[in-house]
Symmetry: C2
Subunit: 368 residues, 2 copies
């Protein structure tokens, strides 16, 4: 038997084998239609049904209330924070923006470009903690009159994750707009706590090209007709997600992932495994007597992206090389961070994490 390969890519990321197997077997004939999903009109009954069921399965998995609309869009998270400002800040003077790492910093710097509203820095985890901890939501400088509060719940580059949903002023808080790309479906969340949730599919769901949007329907009233339809949430909702041709194959694959999640027992069940995977890995780091290090405060450590460093940049490099030959792939850290990053999304099996921990021990024995 060949060596198992474990893919720790931060995204596009690992997909369940069973999903790839089904995609492979249906490549020429989806469900007796004689067609590949890739060659079907998006308006065909068959594809409309695929998209409908993907939405229903996502609703079931996340327990999405009826007053939320679900869209499968394109353009990734980078389109969404711009669209959020364009659609939801209309007539408002201020948007509150929380910077906690690489992605929220990019969003903060981009959001003001097409907006009349001021993008107000509500908190800055870089200035406060050099991105090794997260600003307490109670400390966020937010205004009840803001259009919304933007934040990123899990920062893939810095390995930070908010445990709880911020509720500083309870009911007086403006709607939360949250980038969930790298943690969607990894644990139960209460959708009603948010105004808008968006997520590029390429991290915790799988294929790139599909972008999930979950929006509370009263917010659609803010979407002005002056916004081009292709970037207008209301236009997409009114056309049931068919304003333009969606990324059909990535949506189909996402739907297969949703079914796989259901077969695993749903989000609560995978949360248990995700928590175990993360706990074991952080224990291996913390128990290495200082050989491996992760500086993130315990309360803010990501369960999805675990970053760690060996004692020197040379050993980091060697770790990345040697682990690759052992079937542990794409562990090299983000370019600005150095070290290693293990992305352990839903589709990463516990065995992959155990194999990584075993290799970490051997590596330390050799070079420690």
């Amino acid at each position: 038997m060949s060596m198992p390969i474990y893919n720790f890519s931060a995204g596009p990321a690992v997909l369940p084998d069973s999903v790839l197997r089904q995609a492979q077997s249906e490549m020429f004939d989806y469900n007796g239609t004689g067609f590949s999903v890739m060659t079907m009109s998006h308006r065909s009954d068959v594809f409309m049904s695929i998209m409908y069921h993907a939405e229903q399965d996502l609703r079931q998995l996340m327990n999405i209330p009826n007053n939320y609309k679900v869209l499968f869009m394109q353009g990734g998270a980078s389109s969404q924070f711009n669209m959020a400002v364009m659609n939801l800040a209309n007539g408002f003077k201020r948007v509150d923006s929380v910077v906690t790492g690489n992605w929220s910093r990019i969003a903060h710097n981009q959001m003001g470009k097409l907006s009349d509203a001021k993008i107000h820095l509500a908190a800055h985890g870089g200035e406060l903690y050099d991105y090794t901890d997260l600003p307490d939501p109670e400390s966020w400088d937010i205004s009840p009159d803001s259009a919304f509060v933007h934040y990123v719940i899990n920062e893939t580059v810095h390995g930070l994750q908010y445990r709880d949903v911020p509720k500083p002023f309870a009911n007086q808080m403006p709607p939360l707009v949250c980038d969930m790309s790298s943690e969607i479906l990894s644990r139960p969340i209460n959708v009603s706590d948010f105004g808008l949730i968006y997520a590029g599919a390429q991290k915790n769901i799988g294929p790139s090209g599909a972008t999930i949007v979950i929006i509370r329907e009263d917010l659609l009233e803010r979407c002005s007709d002056r916004i081009p339809d292709v970037w207008n949430y209301k236009s997409h909702v009114e056309r049931q997600g068919m304003y333009n041709t969606p990324a059909t194959y990535p949506i189909y694959i996402s739907g297969l992932v949703f079914r796989w999640l259901q077969s695993q027992g749903g989000v609560s069940a995978v949360q248990t495994i995700n928590a175990l995977k993360a706990r074991k890995l952080y224990e291996a780091i913390d128990g290495s007597g200082g050989f491996y290090t992760n500086k993130v405060a315990a309360r803010a450590r990501s369960q999805m992206n675990v970053i760690f460093h060996a004692p020197t940049p040379e050993l980091d490099k060697l770790f990345a090389q040697e682990s690759t030959t052992r079937g542990l792939r794409l562990l090299k850290g983000y370019k600005t961070m150095g070290g290693m990053r293990a992305s352990i999304y839903n589709a990463m099996p516990l065995q992959g994490v155990e194999a990584l921990i075993e290799f970490m021990g051997e590596f330390q024995k050799r070079y420690g």
Copy 2:
């Protein structure tokens, strides 16, 4: 042997069998990497190489000059006409827009939303010809001072296609911005005639989710820093198409289609077959003694999307039904047009068109 199935979908559309076969065989292991292309980081060497070769192959097929940049973006044609205005009309008072069918009409109505420039109607094929012919480019009311001229070279809904590239004022014409979604790579075109070419991949290339952009590099100087990076051509060029995660799998499939086109002898070779397919089909319509009709003027008939009607709406419906049972799929016309539409893109084999013509004859014998 089972009945062959021919897919006449207007898009997402037919893909060559050999492309689907390769995708199927590489689903778990691309080129010995042990990974599916779907699960690779977009920044991995392997995927970067896939994208690089896709670009090089497209450059070779279209003979794209060095002073043009190629991008694989997201969001389809509907994003591109908005981005064209956002990026290229900066500081201009006017954009010229030619309306020749469904898609250019949508573009015309959308382009003004985020633009200070006036979107000037340069010609209207609906008012002139009820979309059964194309306004002669010499008659377009365009100004040398306009930011650009927008037009759609092939209209999938109305079955219209410009044969030649408009050059009304020769060198004084503003840059042409052209939607080539439904004809890209179907025949040789001279890229230098255009300022910006864009194309959703889901018609004449195949998978939805990837959008091809070919832009003359001097036009990048017009792209203001005030445009959000995700919708800014210059930002994407500066980051070599990796500003954000591209739709990796649709790009990979597009690359396979480019290789397939090369194996067919390139664009000139497929043009010969495309012309033959279209000629045979129009001859079958015109030679049916009035049973089948297509009202489009000969000079404007599309070689990609052939529309036709049977004598009555009831027979149209019957044709669509009966043809489906004969393996001729998705021939039903666009909702506003009725009748039939046969999309005969590059990947539709001549045999598919011959099978359709044979069925048309039988159908006419039965009901004519």
